[in-house]
């Protein structure tokens, strides 16, 4: 954890313990946030907000320590916060300021001087598609617009890491997609480290490279989202239009393990606590039954891919997509929580 190390992890927490009175909120939490987009998920009261406060140096830890880009947030809070932008979950504003004044104020507080802060505020608001709404007082704006202003204020000073708490709260589907796109751009094109704390698990799966699951003040699961959502047996997912059942029969005949996807494969989150589906979900068949559907197949054998394309061609089937099959992250998350309830002191998985 030397400060002079050339490769500094954005966040490195080692055995941190935080207690409020007798209640332990973070219990020997050790984790690393790598560059890229990391999801921080967990049920309410899991300790996510306290972890973010620990990263910002706002709370005094009972044990352990946090390093942010090699710096101790308690000793050098200003230097750490220069490198961090935060989008809090709660609506926050300085009453009386307009949107652009708010972002400019944030820029000035972060050390961007005078007129440059105004130029920068407008530039970032343009990028966030804030429009003319930026001239209205913040307290009169819609929830979605406030979220944009808050996001613009968090990134206006060009931080190395952005921490977002429920960034898609209050956004319509189009704005939500745009927000996720901005996060991806920041991480991919500008090398920012993004830490997203959210309950919207599909968002985590769609943009995050890594995930940290917190529950009961402990890290229950951490690792690459690709690894965590990989099925036990690697499968490909083929979406087709044509005689699906015939394709499956032929693939099996050629020694390629294949099956038509059932609701269990596609909508695991609809399952009840006992793993069974309601009658309504059971009647759903992906596609229209005969001529449209999803095939799950294993293409591990040599020439399996060529054989599959040959059968598809012979049957005149139209392929909508072919991609690696993965488990929904929601399923992984629920498993982690169930394991946490069963064994409160054990981590389910601790991938590097």
């Amino acid at each position: 954890m030397s400060r002079s190390s050339t490769v500094e992890e954005p966040v490195l927490a080692t055995g941190i313990v935080k207690r409020y009175g007798k209640r332990t909120v973070l219990d020997r939490v050790s984790l690393t946030v790598h560059p890229g987009i990391t999801g921080l998920v967990g049920p309410n009261g899991a300790g996510k907000s306290t972890l973010v406060k620990a990263i910002l140096g706002l709370v005094r830890l009972a044990e352990g320590g946090v390093r942010v880009f090699g710096l101790d947030p308690r000793r050098e809070p200003h230097a750490v916060r220069q490198n961090i932008g935060v989008v809090p979950e709660d609506e926050c504003s300085v009453p009386g300021l307009s949107g652009v004044e708010m972002v400019r104020y944030a820029a000035q507080l972060s050390g961007i001087p005078g007129i440059e802060s105004l130029r920068r505020a407008h530039e970032v608001l343009d990028w966030c598609d804030a429009g003319q709404e930026r001239y209205r007082p913040v307290e009169t704006l819609s929830v979605g617009m406030k979220q944009k202003i808050s996001f613009a204020a968090a990134i206006v000073h060009d931080p190395r890491m952005v921490i977002l708490d429920e960034p898609t709260n209050g956004l319509d589907p189009i704005e939500r997609r745009a927000m996720l796109g901005r996060l991806t751009t920041l991480a991919r094109d500008h090398g920012k480290t993004i830490l997203v704390s959210t309950h919207v698990l599909p968002d985590v799966q769609s943009i995050c490279e890594r995930v940290i699951v917190l529950a009961g003040g402990r890290v229950r699961l951490t690792g690459s989202i690709r690894e965590l959502t990989q099925p036990a047996i690697p499968e490909e997912r083929l979406e087709v239009i044509g005689p699906v059942d015939e394709l499956v029969r032929r693939l099996i005949a050629r020694g390629i393990p294949a099956r038509r996807a059932r609701p269990l494969d596609l909508f695991p989150s609809a399952a009840g606590a006992d793993g069974r589906y309601s009658a309504a979900v059971e009647t759903v068949t992906p596609g229209d039954g005969a001529n449209e559907g999803v095939v799950l197949l294993q293409l591990t054998a040599p020439h399996a891919l060529a054989a599959m394309w040959s059968e598809v061609h012979q049957l005149g089937i139209r392929v909508s997509s072919l991609k690696a099959s993965c488990r929904p992250f929601e399923e992984v998350f629920l498993e982690a929580l169930q394991a946490a309830q069963a064994s409160p002191t054990e981590s389910l998985h601790a991938a590097p």
């Binding site: 706002l58 200003h78 220069q82 926050c92 972060s110 530039e123 990028w127 598609d129 307290e139 000073h157």
Partner: protein, 414 residues
């Protein structure tokens, strides 16, 4: 997509430090506070008393310029007003009566006497200005601005904006203090300095600026003495609630309640003193008649009479002390226009002419500040008068600062 959207670009300029953050918080706070129409009115109104005091400076300097100082002193000796400046004439007249005389045997040139007299008069005028109208206006202006400064941030969760950025508690508190400090300075220090400059401008010689060089320093110190306890106390109230109305109420209630408590205790003292005087007077009459009958006068009688004389709030102001005694004893004042007890006492305390020790001053912020300002202007020098208010204001400032320090980032810690 906006016409000028250039995408997200890195920023690699030179960042400013903590001082800039303090200035940004202060300037934004003043800008937001200035949107209040009531604040603008209050600040504008706060400068108007300076015009009245400017008239006093002008009349006094005009008298010196025309060689009428002796006449003013003569008038002061008989307790008459100085022409043309109304009630402030009494301040000038009695200042002349109270100005420090040179030590016995030391010769004083007419110029030295003029300088000494000028310093005495200007100091009292400044004290009167800063204490009577400005300290009250300060309570109003601070009460309009301060309650919202921290409580509004707590309510709108603006602390998330500050403490997730390179802004620590020190910068935050310093920025908020600076907002109030600048407002307080704008209604106390700046008009007082303007008065001093005007006094120099209307005086016969520019050298008056040199002979009164300490007055601007005293004005600055007196303004700080006004600002520090009041500003800390107001911000502490603001930090204790997310509702600025509650903080406002607490602020004005403190001033009013303490003032009432002070007035009640002082009045009780005065009534008790008057009662004791009456008893003493009756005893003395009895003793006199008895002595007259016996034809003797004992040392004990002399001592009792002396105590009786000292018990009265008589000041070296001579006529003022006599007037006050007259009023306290229910007689029409021998000198000057008729004033009721309360008016007279208030005026004489406000201007430092009543030199009895206000033993309850420490209860009321207004009266404590008055004593400290009198000390700063060199008018009050008795430690037993200065210490209780100084201790009271010091404690208020320290406790308020601790509360403020503890509360401003409290939401971030939980």
């Amino acid at each position: 997509m906006p016409l000028h959207d250039v995408g997200y670009r890195p920023w690699q300029g030179r960042r400013s430090g903590s001082l800039a953050a303090i200035l940004v918080i202060a300037s934004t706070g003043i800008k937001l506070a200035w949107t209040s129409r009531w604040l603008r009115r209050a600040v504008f109104f706060a400068w108007s008393p300076a015009l009245v005091f400017a008239g006093s400076f002008f009349v006094f300097e005009q008298a010196i310029d025309e060689g009428r100082l002796g006449s003013i002193q003569d008038r002061a000796r008989v307790g008459r007003n100085v022409d043309g400046v109304g009630i402030l004439g009494r301040v000038i007249a009695d200042s002349l009566g109270q100005s420090d005389a040179p030590p016995p045997g030391q010769h004083e040139t007419p110029e030295e006497e003029t300088d000494r007299t000028r310093r005495a008069v200007w100091s009292r005028l400044m004290l009167a200005f800063m204490r009577s109208p400005q300290a009250i206006l300060l309570a109003i202006v601070v009460g309009l601005v301060a309650p919202a400064l921290v409580s509004r941030d707590l309510r709108a969760k603006a602390w998330l904006i500050y403490f997730t950025r390179p802004v620590g508690k020190f910068e935050y508190v310093a920025g908020k203090l600076l907002i109030l400090g600048l407002l307080v300075a704008s209604i106390t220090m700046l008009p007082a300095l303007a008065l001093w400059m005007m006094g120099v401008a209307v005086s016969p010689s520019i050298w008056v600026a040199v002979t009164t060089w300490d007055l601007p320093v005293r004005i600055i110190v007196a303004s700080l003495a006004l600002a520090i306890p009041t500003v800390f106390m107001a911000l502490a109230y603001s930090s204790l609630t997310a509702e600025s109305r509650i903080a406002s109420f607490a602020w004005f209630a403190t001033w009013a309640a303490c003032w009432i408590a002070h007035a009640s205790l002082t009045t009780a003292d005065m009534m008790q003193q008057a009662h004791e005087d009456t008893l003493m007077s009756e005893n003395a009459q009895t003793a006199d008649s008895s002595n007259a009958a016996d034809g003797g006068f004992t040392a004990e009688d002399a001592s009792r009479r002396s105590r009786r004389s000292n018990a009265r709030p008589m000041g070296p102001g001579g006529e003022i002390g006599e007037n006050l005694s007259d009023l306290l004893e229910g007689r029409r004042p021998r000198n000057g226009p008729p004033l009721n007890v309360r008016q007279f006492r208030w005026l004489s305390r406000a201007t430092g002419l009543d030199d009895t020790i206000d033993r309850w001053a420490w209860i009321s912020p207004y009266h404590s500040l008055g004593v400290i300002q009198a000390w700063v202007f060199g008018i009050e020098r008795r430690w037993q008068a200065i210490f209780p208010p100084l201790l009271s204001l010091g404690l208020v400032s320290i406790v308020s600062a601790l509360v403020l320090w503890w509360r401003v980032d409290a939401p971030a810690r939980v």
